[in-house]
């Protein structure tokens, strides 16, 4: 339980940090921020990689989790980059 409390603390602090860091985002960046953040949520890939595979079901689930998280990571970063490159100043 101690570990959970500690990690719960990390969770709360990270959310608070996120709110502080991004509170004044210009509207030009709304879409790229959303898409870039979406790519970050592909961090689930790290979780998927550390799953156990004792049973066949677990093996299948881990494989599916890795695959879909990878689509999220690669697709998310590439599309964000493509979008950001279009934004130009006069």
């Amino acid at each position: 339980m101690e570990t959970y409390i500690l990690l719960g603390f990390v969770l709360i602090l990270s959310i608070y940090l996120g709110l502080e860091l991004i509170s004044k985002v210009p509207s030009t960046l709304h879409t790229p921020l959303m898409s870039g953040a979406n790519a970050i949520s592909g961090i689930a890939l790290v979780g998927a990689l550390s799953l156990g595979s004792d049973t066949q079901l677990q093996e299948i689930l881990a494989f599916l989790a890795v695959t879909f998280a990878s689509i999220n990571v690669f697709g998310g970063y590439l599309v964000t980059n493509r979008m950001l490159r279009m934004f130009k100043k006069k």
Binding site: L19, A48, M86
Partner: protein, 459 residues
């Protein structure tokens, strides 16, 4: 300390390093000058976190295959997709992230669990991940206009009911874990209810409210990853997931504020139910104008404000709009673009479209900056926008959209409204702007109308 312990502490130290990169990355992503580098930094953080995790995996072959498929599919979609389909692409990727956490929690249910808290975490992660997935898929269907189910249809009502049932079931099963260990059947019902519930969560939400839903689903995918991190005791999942949760939440709040509605009202009530009795039928005459007359007015204008809306996206008119803007500028006219935060179907939709058409971002202005100087604008050109320029929001306390911050186009000297027909906007509210003394309606497809103006200028 044995070998495994060593590896695990090494990984955790690298995870902390990677978390710091994620934090700096997302901070830089929120500023125009550093956004590209910020995205790169966060990709680097991802690469480091994934690489260090790969050190001690059990089943390398399957994982290599999984990552390769993901890399191939993800890159293909990202590089081939048209910029106009960005909203639905973001929804789709978001859904896949949610699906991954759904699978992670499902898999953990089948591993050795030693306390009821873990069961609760598993259920929450399954629920948030699953709703993110099926909700995003419905959002994808709505945004790409493949899915057209009316809010009032029986299917929508059925799924909405399932959504509420799934919520009750979640709390019920979480509470029960104190008493008995959930059986496989019990858990399977949760899996199914979750996926159907996500459908019911997004299905009743209308097109104009999509920016809010997308931001919220974005936030959910992060929260789901953070919960998966708690479950797996993995700090980088918690930090990165929380950052995404926070950024999605901020966007959700910005969008809801731009509509002057609460998040609860958007998700669970919608416009139709909240519209009060006031049905002031607008009287007066609509004054149409043709392209050549519009051209004469534009040619003599000193300053022009273009106000795009979802109609510009539908008509794919952003390129001709840019062309018209350039012709006006070479004619000595000052051209600005007034961008309302909720114009379009996702946060920043208009900004992306105009950027794609090479409109520099420093000529885009936000409502609060452009409204005070509106009386110096000679011509406001409203392209397929409706509710975001509806003066009822400031003038008519009975209107359903009263209080919503708008771009006050009606205060410009002349207003051109480019519109297909006289139908009302998403909110179903009549727009008095169309009947104002200084308004001229340019009926027809936005792309054709603007194209007509462009060729008049070239002659």
């Amino acid at each position: 300390m044995n070998f495994i312990d060593n590896i695990s502490s090494f990984q955790n130290i690298i995870y902390i390093f990677s978390s710091i990169l994620f934090i700096s990355g997302i901070k830089m992503l929120g500023k125009e000058d550093t956004a590209v580098r910020g995205n790169f930094l966060s990709a680097l953080a991802m690469l480091i976190a994934v690489s260090v995790t790969l050190i001690n995996i059990f089943n390398p072959l399957l994982i290599i295959i999984g990552i390769s498929i993901g890399a191939l599919v993800g890159s293909l979609i990202a590089l081939k997709v048209k910029m106009t389909s960005i909203p639905e692409m973001v929804a789709l990727f978001n859904g896949f992230g949610g699906l991954a956490t759904f699978f992670i929690a499902w898999s953990e249910f089948n591993s050795s669990i030693d306390n009821s808290f873990q069961y609760i975490l598993i259920m929450l992660t399954v629920y948030i991940g699953g709703v993110t997935f099926s909700g995003s898929i419905i959002a994808y269907g709505k945004l790409s206009e493949r899915l057209k189910i009316a809010k009032t249809s029986i299917i929508t009502k059925l799924f909405t009911t399932i959504f509420y049932i799934s919520l009750v079931y979640l709390f019920y099963s979480a509470a029960l874990t104190e008493i008995f260990i959930p059986t496989f059947d019990f858990f399977t019902i949760l899996l199914v209810l979750t996926l159907l519930g996500g459908v019911g969560f997004v299905l009743p939400i209308g097109g104009g409210d999509m920016p809010v839903v997308i931001s919220l689903l974005n936030s959910f995918s992060g929260i789901a990853a953070a919960f998966a991190g708690l479950l797996l005791l993995n700090n980088v999942l918690i930090v990165a997931g929380s950052l995404v949760g926070a950024s999605g939440l901020i966007l959700t709040i910005i969008m809801a504020k731009a509509m002057n509605r609460s998040i609860g009202n958007i998700l669970f009530v919608g416009y139709a139910a909240s519209s009060p009795s006031s049905k002031s039928e607008e009287t007066g005459e609509v004054k149409p104008i043709n392209v050549s007359d519009a051209y004469l007015i534009l040619e003599n204008a000193n300053s022009v404000l273009v106000i795009p809306g979802y109609g510009m996206a539908v008509a794919q008119a952003q390129h001709v709009v840019r062309e018209l803007g350039e012709l006006l500028e070479s004619n000595g006219t000052e051209v600005k673009y007034g961008i309302h935060p909720v114009a379009g179907r996702m946060p920043g939709h208009m900004n992306v479209l105009l950027a794609e058409a090479n409109v520099p971002y420093d000529v885009l202005v936000e409502p609060e900056d452009v409204n005070p100087m509106m009386d110096t604008v000679d011509v406001a050109v409203v392209i397929g926008a409706n509710d975001v320029v509806n003066p009822s929001a400031t003038e008519e306390p009975g209107s359903p959209i009263y209080g919503m911050p708008i771009i006050e186009a009606h205060n410009a000297r002349t207003v051109f409204v480019l519109k297909r027909s006289m139908s009302s906007g998403f909110a179903g509210v009549q727009n008095p702007l169309f009947f104002k003394e200084n308004t001229r309606m340019l009926f027809g497809d936005a792309k054709d109308s603007i194209g007509g103006l462009v060729s008049e200028f070239k002659e």
